[in-house]
């Protein structure tokens, strides 16, 4: 690795130091509580898996460049200069062993947003050329093609055609003035295309106008995952342009975790302006439609159901009550796992971990925490609202020989929807 890349990495880390970051490092009391909040530490208790330690390169830059103590240490030759080997060592720590789930930030007694700092550390990792191959590929495809998985418009159109034919439902593309613009993740388009039919059915019953943009349908933001604000801003910008062009009132973030964080919470700051539209998670929209009496459900599930809160939607996004109200509308036997809601344990595959093949063993090991949560309530089915979580949950359950269906809340709601005038298609 060239010294130029190391310099780039260090400069990028310098650029990340802002007032909150400086305050966080200044106020860290080295208590180590963040360790026990992190499933990558609890399931593999090595010191380097402690969340705050994952930010060590950023801390060193902060100390050396912005503190008197650090400057004196540098002057006396006592500072540890960051070299390429450091970036190499930290690559697995900040990518493979962190899903940016935010649990460490919740537990920090002095209120440091450690996840935010790890996210910033990733900026330096990318600049130094030390990011996982899978995430680099996904980011490249996202910028070039518009999808981290290379899903192009004809593929989406083929899935829409399937919905139109089998469900007898319309999926409007590029409808100007629609109330809602639905985003989708490539994971949904490829693995769970049924969700398009489910939402078409619900929106039809609710009698709301909606559309999908042919120019920006991808919700996934690889820039957030890899840690490149430039890429993240480019991807958010495309959605903003499409939403403005179609003059929609609300953009719906789909059953995808970090897409919601990227668009709703980071989005305006990334593009440097306030949005002319609202951003809501699909569960917020479905909850609102239910509360307004535009949709209702029938036929309650009798099986014992539990809900896995996707970290970015619940802990980082605040969508905690809505899924519970919706599940209780269709189920008589809903049970909560321990630590459910804002302190839920991550599935182990968020924050780009699932796109990083090298982390396969790590993420399955991290699933043990979810396994222990499930064993307490022993449910008949597991419901969630993130395509990436669903895949990880299925793989984890398979690995540990647990027979448990993993269901999409949106699809379940569509199954239980009361329809005044059902579509003519065969599909549910």
């Amino acid at each position: 690795m060239s010294s130029l890349n190391v310099e780039r990495g260090i400069n990028s880390l310098k650029e990340q130091i802002d007032a909150p970051t400086a305050a966080f490092f200044s106020s860290c009391v080295h208590c180590g509580l963040c360790a026990d909040a992190c499933l990558f530490y609890t399931e593999n208790p090595q010191p380097e898996n402690t969340p705050i330690y994952k930010t060590e390169l950023l801390r060193r830059v902060w100390e050396q460049e912005y503190t008197l103590k650090g400057k004196l240490k540098s002057w006396l030759g006592m500072s540890k200069t960051i070299v390429d080997a450091d970036f190499e060592a930290w690559e697995t720590r900040v990518y493979d062993n962190c899903s940016l789930c935010g649990r460490c930030s919740m537990i920090c007694p002095v209120g440091n947003d450690i996840t935010y700092m790890i996210r910033k550390t990733r900026e330096g990792m990318v600049a130094s050329g030390h990011a996982p191959e899978g995430l680099v590929g996904a980011s490249t495809r996202a910028v070039k093609i518009g999808s981290p998985m290379g899903v192009r418009l004809p593929a989406l159109q083929a899935q829409i055609k399937h919905v139109k034919k089998d469900y007898g439902l319309d999926v409007p593309l590029d409808l100007v003035g629609a109330e809602y613009m639905l985003m989708l993740s490539s994971m949904e388009i490829m693995n769970f295309p049924e969700v398009i039919g489910a939402l078409a059915k619900i929106f039809r019953q609710a009698n709301v106008t909606w559309t999908i943009s042919s120019e920006a349908f991808e919700a996934t933001n690889s820039g957030i995952q890899i840690g490149s604000s430039d890429i993240a801003a480019e991807l958010v910008g495309r959605i903003v342009t499409a939403a403005e062009k179609l003059k929609v009132k609300t953009v719906i973030s789909p059953e995808c975790g970090h897409a919601y964080t990227a668009l709703r919470w980071d989005g305006p700051n990334l593009v440097g302006k306030a949005f002319s539209f609202k951003v809501k998670h699909v569960l917020e929209v479905l909850y609102q439609l239910q509360q307004e009496g535009k949709i209702a459900f029938e036929g309650k599930e009798q099986e014992r159901l539990t809900y896995h809160d996707p970290c970015q939607i619940a802990r980082r996004g605040g969508v905690i009550e809505e899924p519970r109200v919706l599940i209780n509308a269709i189920a008589d036997n809903f049970v909560e796992m321990p630590n459910a809601g804002k302190m839920n344990w991550c599935c182990g595959a968020g924050g780009g971990v699932s796109a990083n093949e090298r982390a396969e063993e790590v993420k399955i090991n991290a699933f043990k925490k979810k396994k222990s949560q499930l064993e307490v309530v022993n449910p008949d089915a597991l419901v969630s609202a993130c395509a990436n979580c669903r895949i990880q949950l299925e793989e984890g359950l398979e690995e540990f020989n647990m027979e448990l269906p993993v269901l999409s809340l949106t699809e379940m709601l569509a199954d239980h929807l009361i329809e005044d005038n059902p579509a003519t298609g065969e599909a549910p």
Binding site: P154, A158, G352
Partner: protein, 151 residues
């Protein structure tokens, strides 16, 4: 005739028999020996409940091994194979009474065909829904013929 309702109305044994025929129609989209051998076993042996559990574990693993990974470059032919495996997994699921399993299998077969069409980037004359109706008609006719002794 509505395929979904007709499938659901069939007795469990016939659902499995017909489901196998429906999956066989898209089996060319999968190279996975686990899926092929499971479908062959269902057709040949009419497996017991315990045998079905073993077969289902095999095809479920095949489905998990072949789904698209988050952030990976899309491989639509592989995704077609994934849906074939998923169809087999649905068919072998325990729930036969509600008819959900066979309907899920039929839908997964349609998705498999859609994925293949996306992979080849061209419209195919193979419409899986129409094919499934044809398979159903032929199956029902056979049942009637058998019932009336007109084999």
């Amino acid at each position: 005739m509505n395929l979904k309702n007709t499938l659901k109305a069939l007795p469990a044994e016939q659902q499995q028999e017909l489901g196998t025929l429906i999956i066989e129609h898209v089996l060319e989209l999968s190279d996975d020996s686990r899926v092929k051998s499971a479908i062959a076993a269902i057709k040949r042996d009419n497996p017991s409940k315990n045998e079905s559990v073993v077969l289902r574990a095999l095809v479920k693993k095949a489905a998990l091994d072949s789904h698209a990974r988050c952030g990976s470059d899309s491989e639509w032919s592989e995704q077609a194979a994934h849906f074939v495996a998923l169809a087999a997994s649905s068919l072998l699921a325990g729930d036969k009474e509600s008819g959900t399993a066979i309907w899920q299998a039929a839908m997964s077969c349609r998705m498999a065909r859609t994925c293949k069409q996306i992979d080849t980037e061209q419209e195919s004359d193979k419409d899986e829904a129409i094919a499934q109706y044809r398979i159903l008609n032929s199956f029902l006719k056979e049942q009637i013929d058998e019932g009336t002794g007109n084999e």
